[in-house]
């Protein structure tokens, strides 16, 4: 394997005043607040996150040398990427996207072995070292069992793992992958990203991926790059990025906001209808909160000054000991006891919208 050399700063990949996009189509040129000066260091899994259309794929393609930058330059191990001949470049970086044809009658192993192209002669004969690299790559994504399967017989998720294996098999210090978790089911997504991290550390390389699963990105990546829909760019350790408000701003839409505590997207507070919620019952609390959230309510504490004008929900033990909900609509003096969560859901959905909700 090629030993990564690094620049003075220790970065494998660096950009200088980079602007990305399509020269001839200004509507597809991204204007970041400042031209991008990025660095990717060894032993890192870097996750690029951002909303649709923020330029993640374009950034990856530009960094991988598949497309010219609008301005600025990209250097890979200290060399300008656009001055490298394609065969030399192919030994320094690999790239994969999800938009690939599956050639007919090709086996999983033959597909992964395409990654050895930069190291084989015109006959394409694989030597023992190439075979070993193919085995290693298949093993790294837990796809050894797909070795003899035809690509056309693989599921989308299985083919996705072979795409990642093909990319790793190229054995390059820098690896770019556009949405390597696409088509994978949740457990395989979590497994794949942790394997990618392991791979980055084992090979002392940088792996840069674009990803839509923010929670996984923050739990597994060593570094996060955030491309905002507003042209912002932020990079840093997951914890540092979480501390700052950039993520919430980058992803904010009129409907939802990122919650950096739960790593999930939640409806904006002003979209929610306030409802006084008090009293806890150990076994009913979690489903009740879930139901309220799902139906678009925002729990308000009874001590809140606005509480008097709002509908309220409390728990009350039934005389026979089973818990019951008590729902009191706003402006109605008569509370109503409800015994099942299905009935509660029906009542909540019929609740008149209070004046506070927008």
């Amino acid at each position: 394997m090629m030993q990564p050399k690094s620049t003075d700063s220790g970065a494998l990949l660096a950009t200088l005043h980079l602007e990305i996009g399509y020269d001839k189509d200004p509507s597809r040129t991204w204007h970041f607040d400042t031209p991008l000066s990025l660095e990717a260091h060894p032993n890192r899994l870097i996750a690029i996150v951002g909303p649709n259309g923020a330029g993640k794929s374009t950034l990856l393609r530009t960094l991988a040398g598949l497309q010219q930058p609008v301005a600025g330059q990209v250097s890979l191990l200290g060399q300008n990427i656009h001055q490298l001949a394609p065969p030399d470049l192919a030994r320094l970086r690999s790239y994969s996207s999800t938009h690939l044809n599956r050639p007919q009658w090709m086996s999983g192993r033959e597909w992964v072995a395409l990654g050895r192209f930069p190291y084989t002669g015109w006959l394409g004969a694989l030597d023992a070292r190439d075979d070993e690299a193919v085995d290693r790559a298949l093993h790294a994504v837990n796809a050894s069992y797909l070795s003899d399967r035809r690509l056309t017989a693989c599921s989308d998720g299985e083919f996705q793992r072979l795409i990642v294996a093909r990319c790793l098999c190229q054995d390059t210090p820098v690896v770019f992958m556009d949405e390597p978790l696409a088509h994978l089911d949740p457990p395989h997504k979590a497994e794949m990203i942790s394997r990618l991290r392991e791979q980055a550390h084992k090979s002392s390389g940088s792996i840069l991926i674009s990803i839509h699963d923010i929670d996984l990105a923050f739990r597994h990546a060593d570094e996060i790059w955030v491309l905002g829909s507003d042209g912002s760019f932020t990079q840093g350790m997951p914890e540092a990025v979480l501390e700052s408000p950039v993520l919430a701003r980058a992803f904010r839409t009129s409907q939802v906001t990122f919650n950096s505590r739960t790593l999930t997207f939640e409806a904006n507070p002003e979209q929610l209808q306030p409802l006084v919620f008090a009293g806890t019952h150990a076994s009913r609390h979690i489903p009740t909160v879930h139901l309220l959230t799902r139906l678009g309510f925002r729990p308000v504490s009874p001590s809140d000054p606005s509480a008097t004008d709002l509908p309220s929900l409390t728990f009350q033990p039934h005389p026979d000991g089973t818990p019951e909900w008590v729902l009191k609509p706003a402006n109605s003096p008569t509370p109503e006891a409800i015994s099942s969560i299905e009935a509660l859901a029906a009542k909540l959905q019929r609740l008149p919208t209070s004046g506070n909700a927008s």
């Binding site: 394609p86 599956r102 007919q104 006959l123 394409g124």
Partner: protein, 346 residues
């Protein structure tokens, strides 16, 4: 369906080719017994009439048919792979019509009355004919490839077709003002024929076709990779633009030379690669390219034999025969959807 071993496919194809060659040499308006062929070929005291028929008529005719089939079969495979389109072939991309344009312009420019000369028997100086055809097809090819960098394969195909129609328009205009006799001769050229090729022309046709085929076949790895798409090819270190130029120039060289001597030949370029793919059920161009050449040669020889109409004194237009054989093959392939769907870009 179980996959047949590639080696058996090649043995079967080559045996069929040998058999067809033998049938082609022996049958015709004059029947030459198979047993006499060696003596006619190698001894001087054979029947001079039979010797003339075999050596001066049938052998060049059969060899030309084989070379045309090889060249266009291979060209079709390369085009289908590069454009990732199952309908691509040299003819559809306008290369052959570019060659026609070159031939016609060359004849006008040189002031050679080749159209009214001696019909189909190589009336024009071979060199200028080939040069004209090659320049014309290279021009069309350069135009199409020049556009190819910024468009997808479907748009490229449309541009190729339009370029082809355009050059046919120019050709028709140029030919329209010639005499009816010249018009008819030009029309005969477009029908395709191998009977004009003599031993004098064969070395040129053979060296260009075989050289071009060798140049392309040696790049089978590049075709394997280019088939995956330009981005993918670039990722693993292929100089995409350069490779595409080399391959397309190779195809252009072959297609234009063959068109210059035999007229624009359709169908072989589409049919042969598909048959080769279905027989081999492989993605590897190391197998597909030779198989496509042999299949093309076989189809071409069969069509050429039927065009000769050995049961009658007439000769049928080759393109008509090739279409009558080729069209049902292409249609039957359409029903084998997996082969076509996988090839077209998803």
């Amino acid at each position: 369906m179980k996959r047949i071993q590639p080696i058996s496919v090649f043995i079967a194809l080559l045996s069929a080719l040998g058999l067809c060659l033998l049938v082609d040499l022996t049958l015709g308006s004059v029947r030459i017994p198979v047993r006499q062929i060696p003596s006619i070929l190698f001894s001087a005291d054979a029947d001079p009439t039979l010797r003339f028929i075999l050596l001066e008529v049938r052998l060049p005719y059969a060899l030309t048919a084989i070379l045309v089939g090889m060249g266009l079969g291979l060209g079709g495979m390369v085009m289908q792979t590069l454009l990732r389109n199952p309908l691509a072939e040299p003819f559809i991309l306008g290369i052959s019509s570019g060659a026609s344009l070159g031939v016609v312009i060359m004849s006008l420019g040189l002031g050679v009355q080749w159209l009214s000369a001696t019909g189909l028997s190589s009336p024009m100086p071979a060199f200028s004919m080939v040069t004209g055809a090659f320049l014309g097809s290279s021009l069309l090819m350069a135009l199409v490839i020049g556009f190819s960098r910024r468009m997808d394969s479907v748009m490229l195909l449309i541009v190729g077709l339009m370029a082809g129609y355009f050059s046919y328009g120019v050709v028709s205009m140029l030919v329209f003002f010639r005499s009816p006799e010249e018009l008819r001769t030009y029309h005969l050229w477009t029908l395709g024929s191998f009977s004009g090729v003599t031993w004098r022309d064969l070395p040129i046709i053979a060296s260009v076709t075989l050289g071009g085929c060798a140049l392309i076949t040696l790049r089978f790895r590049m075709l394997d990779i280019l088939h995956m798409g330009d981005s993918f090819a670039h990722t693993v270190g292929v100089s995409v633009a350069r490779e595409r130029w080399i391959l397309l120039l190779g195809v252009s060289l072959i297609a234009s030379t063959l068109t210059a001597y035999c007229g624009p030949i359709a169908f072989l370029g589409i049919a042969a690669p598909h048959i080769a793919r279905l027989l081999l059920r492989s993605h590897s161009h190391a197998l597909l390219l030779p198989a496509s050449m042999i299949t093309g040669a076989l189809l071409s020889l069969i069509a050429a034999f039927i065009a000769k109409a050995p049961w009658s004194p007439h000769t049928l237009p080759y393109n008509a025969v090739a279409a009558l054989i080729g069209a049902p093959v292409v249609i039957s392939l359409l029903f084998n959807r997996t082969s076509l769907r996988r090839l077209s870009q998803e």
